[in-house]
């Protein structure tokens, strides 16, 4: 029975959340009921995940490993789900009758991701990955008008399919050369076998599937389209929870290979290209979500810096950074959803006058963007400091320099947004945004947390370090 307890968060997500919405999707549409139920259930789900923090155990013939590392990520995923659902209050981008389905798919996707972070057999991992991807393809297609949503979803799917193909090929290579897809076994075999081209190629191609999730070069093309084309809460979910899961899996996979210079070099090149391409392209974007997409791509590049140092410190910093990405990206999308009238997309210029129509949102946006740019004393700075320290410890000093210059570039487009929010006069006087008290509270909490966690990062760092210790 102990084993099933360890599976608690997933079970809850699968049966309670999934079950309820399966039923709801069959009932007549009632957005309010769906939303309230979803919020309540997701909150309980987060509670259960937190309660399950210290669970450990192996399930399903040792293909599924529950440890501190996975549980921490599960908390982040449950949190991501909750926050994404929070944004669905009005959910204007999706037809009301599909709301229940949306919650269902979000739940399924979260479940799949939870399984991803716990999967220690690469085949399990692959299945979970596909499950989450397929949920997202469908979610993206829900965007109204449906023609646009479906077109975006198809593009997303095509690139996702290529990534899957690449990943499957990699898995095949790995299995062919090692005879197993079990992570624990691979971990003993791989470091020694990494000298063989087919092994390292296999591992790299396997990583390709994760690159797709994390929108790393060259799999990053879907991100701008999907962010722009998906409904705002869905885009928020993709930018937050989906990234977190991808980071977790990436850490697990790279950790398999021990410390391999060749792989690190390849990853370094990918990191540099990813962040430079992301940051540079973001400069001219007019659509806020597109800009955030490119910024997400760039963040993926930074994440890779932590991972490619291939040390516990590097993994810990990446774990910490996952939380950073989750919170900051959510903050941006929170503002975006609140500003977006009728669930439409928001151009950067539309933020004009935000400072006077809603000071707290403007403040939240500014803090989130500065934090994304890594300006102290925010959590974003602490995250970058940890990442870069880990990289310098392994001697990747030049990489860090390049990353820092990318940070400067990124500041340019973040400042553009802040400029719009704080300085631009709106073309016509905007009515003050009517924010519910809970919205304001949430914004306040987010701002406080962004700063407070930047000033007092010690507990979070300790947690992240403890988490990666179990990776061995």
């Amino acid at each position: 029975m102990v084993g099933w307890t360890a599976f608690g968060p997933e079970l809850y997500t699968c049966f309670v959340l999934g079950g309820v919405f399966l039923v709801f999707s069959l009932l007549p549409a009632n957005p309010r009921r769906d939303y309230v139920t979803a919020m309540a259930l997701a909150a309980v789900g987060l509670g259960i995940s937190i309660a399950g923090l210290h669970l450990t155990g192996d399930l399903f013939a040792d293909t599924y490993h529950v440890d501190l590392f996975s549980q921490i990520f599960k908390i982040m995923l449950a949190l991501g789900l909750l926050l994404a659902i929070y944004l669905c209050e009005h959910l204007r981008g999706i037809a009301p009758r599909r709301h229940a389905e949306t919650y269902l798919l979000l739940t399924v996707c979260t479940l799949a991701m939870m399984m991803m972070v716990s999967a220690v057999n690469l085949l399990t991992l692959y299945v979970a990955l596909e499950l989450s991807s397929y949920s997202l393809y469908v979610l993206v297609s829900f965007r109204q008008p449906r023609t646009g949503g479906v077109r975006t979803a198809v593009r997303y799917f095509l690139i996702g399919a290529s990534a899957s193909a690449v990943m499957l090929f990699g898995l095949a290579l790995l299995y062919g050369s090692c005879g197993t897809l079990d992570a624990a076994t691979l971990m003993t075999l791989l470091p020694a076998a990494m000298g063989r081209p087919e092994v390292i190629t296999g591992l790299t191609l396997t990583l390709g599937g994760i690159f797709f999730k994390l929108a790393l070069f060259p799999f990053h093309f879907w991100a701008p389209d999907v962010y722009e084309g998906a409904a705002n809460p869905v885009a928020a979910y993709i930018a937050t929870a989906s990234k977190v899961a991808a980071i977790a899996v990436l850490i697990r996979l790279v950790a398999l290979g021990g410390q391999n210079v060749l792989l690190a070099r390849a990853l370094a090149v990918i990191a540099v290209i990813t962040m430079t391409a992301g940051n540079l392209t973001a400069i001219v974007q007019q659509d806020l979500k597109r800009m955030l997409a490119y910024s997400s791509i760039a963040q993926g590049g930074y994440v890779l810096i932590g991972i490619l140092s291939m040390t516990p410190a590097g993994y810990a910093s990446t774990t910490f950074y996952a939380l950073v990405v989750l919170l900051l990206k959510f903050s941006c999308f929170f503002v975006l959803v609140k500003v977006a009238a009728g669930g439409r997309n928001v151009a950067i210029d539309d933020l004009a006058g935000l400072h006077s129509s809603s000071p707290i949102l403007a403040l939240l946006l500014m803090m989130a963007l500065f934090a994304l740019a890594g300006i102290p004393p925010t959590i974003g700075f602490t995250g970058k400091l940890l990442l870069f320290t880990a990289a310098v410890q392994r001697g990747y000093f030049v990489l860090v320099l390049i990353a820092m210059f990318n940070v400067v570039i990124s500041l340019y487009y973040y400042l553009r947004v802040i400029h719009a929010a704080y300085l631009r006069k709106p073309p016509r006087a905007l009515p003050a945004l009517n924010l519910a008290l809970r919205d304001r509270l949430l914004a306040g909490v987010l701002v406080t947390f962004t700063v407070a966690a930047g000033i007092f990062p010690a507990p979070l760092i300790a947690l992240a370090e403890a988490a990666v210790r179990v990776l061995g």
């Binding site: 300006i375 102290p376 320099l401 940070v407 500041l411 400029h419 704080y422 300085l423 990062p457 760092i461």
Partner: protein
């Protein structure tokens, strides 16, 4: 280095009063301008009082770091909240207190977005104070950036003349500097093998190889040098000065540029002495070019604030020249110059700001005869200009004297050039004074009010400081000596 821990956390109290000011203002209704200003004045006054107290209470015979406070912050990374003050940081703290308080009083007439303005100023100054007292590299960097990023809004919202361009340029440029500093800091921390950000621990001789010191010092020199206005990385500063509102110009030129020089001193020189020695000739060259170049470009400017902006480039060049001499006198002079220039330029900007507020122009050609309509404002400006020229018995003179003595000894050619630049500097400062204050009275300015007593207070404070340290330079030099002597390992020769 001896450390004396404080019975009462004075240094934190300075930061705390900034934070309290910030938080109080944030929770006040935006419409209560007067109250917000009162809170700002009180909180900044507290910082000034504490910094004066610390300046006087520092035990010069004991030297070393005093008023220290240390709390382990992130033990796993070796980060501690470690503040302390020595003979280099106390003048800077005093300067910050003075400029902060006077800047707040100078902005007494501000009416637009008052709440945000003062909140941002508090944030900025908290960063400045923090940097001057930080003995931990992590916190030093945090404070460094905290003091930079409010600048964007301060300039872009409340500024003038190409404010958005200037704000963007300034922010990106300065943060490009921090993009060099952070890797430098991480590099040193990692290479030390001590996994600590504690500067005292990192400062032990033999911690870093010569190569590491050279590399890191170069990063710090460029990174902090951008902020210090080192030629040719200076172009953000005149543009920024011109665009910024008065108080921000004061803080900016008065204090913020000093952060750059102080960073070179505190991080670069203390941690990488060999790198310092290695790069000193380059520093001296750039500083000298800056001194000469600054005055010549200043000569051609038609905008009052640009003139002061370029004079800042020149004066900060003197700081750089002092630092590059590798001598006690050079260091003493450089630190004193940081202080003296800060006060002088604050007075200058506050006078120009007043003139701009009243006449609505900064163009030298449109001004004239202000000594008639606003004699007090003109007098403050003349005093500032004279201090800028380096007239004896005003604070800058002593600083420049020491730097020139040191520079002439170590780099005779650079020293001579820098001294010769004094002539041109006199030419352009007096040209500005003549074109704005002197000349026949202009009817369109005849009705403008002179500086009132209330607005005069900050200017009187600044003028008093300039004159006091001009007559009693030893007040400052005995303080600075307590830090420069141990740094240089005792007396030379």
């Amino acid at each position: 280095m001896p450390i004396a821990y404080a019975g009462f956390p004075f240094l934190s109290a300075i930061l705390l009063s900034c934070v309290i000011g910030l938080v109080t203002i944030l929770f006040m209704p935006a419409a209560q301008h007067r109250r917000i200003k009162m809170v700002s004045a009180v909180c900044s006054g507290i910082t000034l009082v504490i910094s004066i107290y610390l300046f006087l209470a520092y035990d010069k015979s004991a030297g070393g770091l005093q008023f220290a406070e240390r709390i382990a912050w992130v033990p796993s990374l070796g980060i501690s909240y470690f503040n302390a003050a020595d003979g280099f940081s106390l003048p800077m703290l005093l300067l910050t207190g003075i400029v902060f308080f006077t800047a707040v009083l100078t902005m007494w007439e501000l009416e637009t977005r008052v709440k945000e303005f003062f909140a941002l100023v508090f944030l900025l100054v908290a960063g400045v104070f923090g940097l001057f007292m930080a003995q931990d590299l992590f916190f030093l960097f945090v404070w460094f950036d905290v003091s930079l990023f409010p600048m964007y809004l301060l300039i872009a919202v409340w500024g003038s003349t190409r404010k958005e361009y200037a704000a963007m340029k300034l922010t990106l440029y300065l943060l490009a500097g921090s993009a060099l500093i952070l890797p430098g800091i991480i590099y040193l921390v990692v290479k030390s093998g001590l996994s600590t950000f504690d500067m005292l621990a990192l400062m032990q001789p033999g911690t870093f190889t010569p190569f590491q010191q050279k590399l890191a010092f170069l990063l710090f020199f460029i990174g902090f040098g951008i902020l210090a206005g080192v030629w040719p990385l200076h172009t953000w500063s005149p543009v920024g000065h011109v665009a910024a509102p008065t108080a921000v110009s004061m803080i900016h030129a008065g204090v913020l540029m000093k952060i750059g020089a102080f960073g070179i001193l505190r991080v670069g020189i203390y941690l990488c002495p060999l790198g310092w020695q290695y790069w000193a000739p380059l520093m001296a060259l750039l500083a000298t070019v800056g001194i000469v170049y600054g005055v010549f470009v200043g000569l051609a400017q038609t905008d009052l604030k640009y003139v002061i902006g370029y004079s800042s480039v020149s004066h900060m060049g003197i700081v750089g020249l002092g630092l590059s001499t590798l001598t006690i006198d050079g260091l003493n002079g450089a630190v004193f110059q940081m202080f003296a220039h800060g006060v002088m330029t604050a007075l200058f900007f506050s006078s120009v700001g007043y003139i701009y507020d009243r006449t609505h122009t900064k163009a030298i050609a449109e001004l004239g005869g202000l000594s008639h309509s606003m004699p007090r404002a003109a007098s403050f400006m003349i005093l500032a200009a004279l201090a800028g020229i380096g007239v004896p018995c005003l604070a800058s003179f002593w600083a420049e004297l020491m730097v020139f003595i040191a520079a002439f000894k170590v780099y005779p050619l650079y020293g001579t050039l820098a001294v010769c630049a004094l002539v041109v500097s006199a030419l352009f400062m007096l040209r500005v004074v003549q074109r704005t204050c002197y000349g026949p009275p202009r009817s369109r300015y005849a009705q403008l009010p002179d500086v009132s007593f209330k607005l005069g207070i900050p200017r009187i404070i600044l003028a008093t400081v300039i004159i006091t340290f001009g007559f009693f330079p030893s007040l400052m030099y005995t303080m600075i000596q307590t830090a420069s002597l141990p740094l240089m390992g005792g007396l030379p020769w």
